[in-house]
């Protein structure tokens, strides 16, 4: 027989949520990624002060030196050197600059386009909505890599080519989510009120709809950090990213491809860096989403 006390205890346990251990794990999934991301921002900002060597300086007599903690390595090059005798640690520090700046620019551009498209689509509705959503469908299912190739052929490789290649399709993720929000807001009381008061459509979209989708916008932007860094690294790995000798994590992995049997460290470390940063970005995105809007858990 269950007593009243037991029955009450059950939901209470659920609401207070997790056990102590789980709560510690949960806060760790916030703090560790946060530290990694802030660390990345810090080292990219102060790369010239932190990096032990010039990232493109070649030491021809010290090629393919293993990391210091392996047999044959020296403390001169902590993570070893590559096939041209360049310091891998310094290249990774500078490579973080490329990843971060390209990703942040692309996120800002895609967020801008996606928000305008999404609000217009959801608020105006009708044929505009139909057309914009069709465009979104196509953009979502079009491989971004091919756009990057087209741009690389047509415009030539470079920093802005990569930024635009990542931006041309990236807005689709925003516009679909924000359209949903705008659709919901369009019929809300305060929007009706504004319309009755004679606020123009543009005014409503800017002053009443936009502030209410900012939350969603920030969540998607955080979740996009990881995706953008991955996409950028894939482009530079394939040789259609930022041209050599500028270091980037993707092209460093590719540099080590022909040396796998004699110098495994050239490809290995930059890949770990990408994985770690993307993982941190994803965890942060998840954390912000869970804190602010659990409805979006499916993203």
């Amino acid at each position: 027989m269950t007593t009243l006390g037991e029955v009450r205890a059950k939901p209470a346990k659920r609401i207070s949520g997790l056990s102590r251990g789980a709560r510690i794990v949960r806060s760790l999934t916030f703090f560790v990624p946060m530290v990694i991301m802030l660390g990345l921002v810090f080292i990219t900002l102060f790369a010239p002060l932190i990096a032990p060597y010039d990232p493109i300086e070649q030491h021809m007599l010290e090629r393919r030196l293993p990391p210091s903690f392996f047999e044959g390595g020296t403390t001169k090059y902590i993570l070893g050197t590559d096939h041209l005798g360049r310091d891998i640690l310094s290249r990774m520090i500078y490579g973080g600059r490329v990843s971060l700046s390209v990703s942040l620019l692309a996120i800002m551009i895609t967020a801008g386009i996606g928000t305008v498209m999404g609000i217009a689509s959801g608020y105006i509705g009708g044929r505009t909505d139909g057309f914009l959503m069709r465009l979104t469908d196509i953009a979502m299912s079009f491989p971004g890599l091919l756009i990057a190739m087209l741009l690389s052929v047509g415009v030539g490789p470079g920093f802005w080519t990569v930024v635009f290649a990542l931006s041309i399709l990236g807005w689709a993720g925003y516009s679909r989510m924000i359209r949903g929000e705008a659709l919901r807001l369009r019929n809300s009381d305060f929007v009706m009120q504004a319309r009755v008061n004679g606020v123009s459509n543009i005014g409503i979209m800017f002053k009443h709809i936009f502030p209410n989708v900012v939350n969603t916008l920030i969540i998607i932007m955080t979740l996009q950090i990881g995706m953008m860094i991955l996409a950028e690294s894939a482009l530079s790995y394939l040789g259609i990213g930022i041209p050599a000798p500028t270091p980037s994590w993707g092209s460093m992995v590719s540099d080590g491809r022909n040396d796998l049997d004699r110098a495994w460290w050239i490809s290995t470390f930059p890949g770990i860096a990408i994985g770690l940063v993307v993982l941190s970005g994803n965890f942060l995105g998840d954390w912000i989403r869970d804190k602010t809007d659990p409805r979006l858990r499916r993203l």
């Binding site: 196509i138 047509g154 415009v155 991955l230 790995y237 992995v253």
Partner: protein
């Protein structure tokens, strides 16, 4: 329904023409394609010859018209580097891409569904946490790096599999197929798991259990069938992922497919080849979106009437 399909097909053709216009002008964005292929010691006369040969002396509109007419005859132009017809190059490379893509797709989807469903039915168990962990890790690690690490471990060190390249034996397929699967498995697995959790929570699953059906029938017949719809919605995104994955995988393993061909053409700025491949993929993208729309309309009559 027929009316709906006709309108959708027309819209897809319009979109295709739009994409063709975009692609046509995008590859010419930097101005003159001849500048990309001319050698420094060419005389003016030789350069003029290239112009006439490629039809670049005519106005853009006329060039575009010639291009469109060619496409509808199956003529995608000639490679600037290899001087072979692009359509012929594609027909040689496509089978190699499919040889890699089809087994990867089948095994990858199979794994995604089995693992996703098992994880959902054993929620919060060790197995479920393992699947979640794999999915999180899989979505963070770059696929190209994972492929290279696989070569490093299984070929360079352990010598379990043959080296990169297209070979006759099935062993040549293990690493490339594994890498391709890596590109689609984590996301798909996650989606199947979360959809399955929703479905298992629904009233009709409770009813099926109350009816006394075996757990196996409930999960693999009633629940899974309803969980199949959700992956349909991301079919387009999955396609994009597979194409990108194919390009990267073919590059890592020196696989002579369309992806590697596109990449080589990009580096050589061989625009007719890139243009041709993008066109083929664009047709694929539009075809898949058409398919998704039609199957939606089939499932949900509201869409059928409202959108047509």
């Amino acid at each position: 329904m027929t009316r709906f399909i006709i309108i959708r097909v027309m819209q897809s053709i319009l979109a295709l023409i739009g994409i063709m216009v975009l692609v046509f002008f995008l590859v010419r964005a930097s101005g003159d394609p001849v500048n990309m292929i001319r050698l420094p010691n060419m005389s003016e006369e030789q350069v003029q010859k290239i112009y006439i040969q490629l039809g670049l002396d005519k106005p853009y509109i006329e060039q575009f018209w010639v291009y469109i007419k060619g496409v509808f005859r199956g003529d995608l132009g000639e490679s600037l580097v290899k001087v072979d017809p692009v359509s012929e190059m594609i027909s040689l490379a496509l089978p190699n891409t499919l040889k890699l893509g089809i087994p990867s797709f089948i095994i990858g989807m199979g794994l995604a569904f089995v693992l996703g469903v098992l994880a959902a039915t054993r929620r919060d168990s060790l197995f479920d946490n393992g699947v979640k962990f794999l999915a999180i890790l899989g979505q963070a690690l770059p696929g190209f790096w994972v492929g290279i690490m696989a070569i490093l471990i299984f070929y360079s060190n352990l010598k379990w599999v043959p080296g990169p390249g297209l070979g006759m034996s099935p062993a040549h397929y293990i690493l490339p197929v594994g890498t391709m699967i890596f590109f689609m498995l984590p996301g798909m697995m996650r989606l199947v798991r979360s959809t399955m959790l929703d479905v298992l929570d629904s009233e009709y699953i409770k009813l099926a259990r109350i009816k006394g059906l075996s757990e196996r029938t409930v999960i693999w017949k009633h629940a899974l069938r309803n969980a199949l719809i959700s992956p349909l919605t991301v079919l387009g995104m999955l396609f994009a992922g597979i194409v990108s994955g194919a390009v990267i995988t073919e590059q890592i393993f020196n696989w002579p497919g369309m992806g590697r061909m596109a990449l080589e053409a990009t580096v050589a700025r061989d625009f007719p080849v890139v243009q041709g491949i993008v066109l083929i993929v664009a047709i694929g993208v539009l075809g898949i979106n058409l398919l998704i729309d039609i199957s939606y309309a089939y499932v949900d009559p509201q869409i059928r009437y409202q959108r047509a």
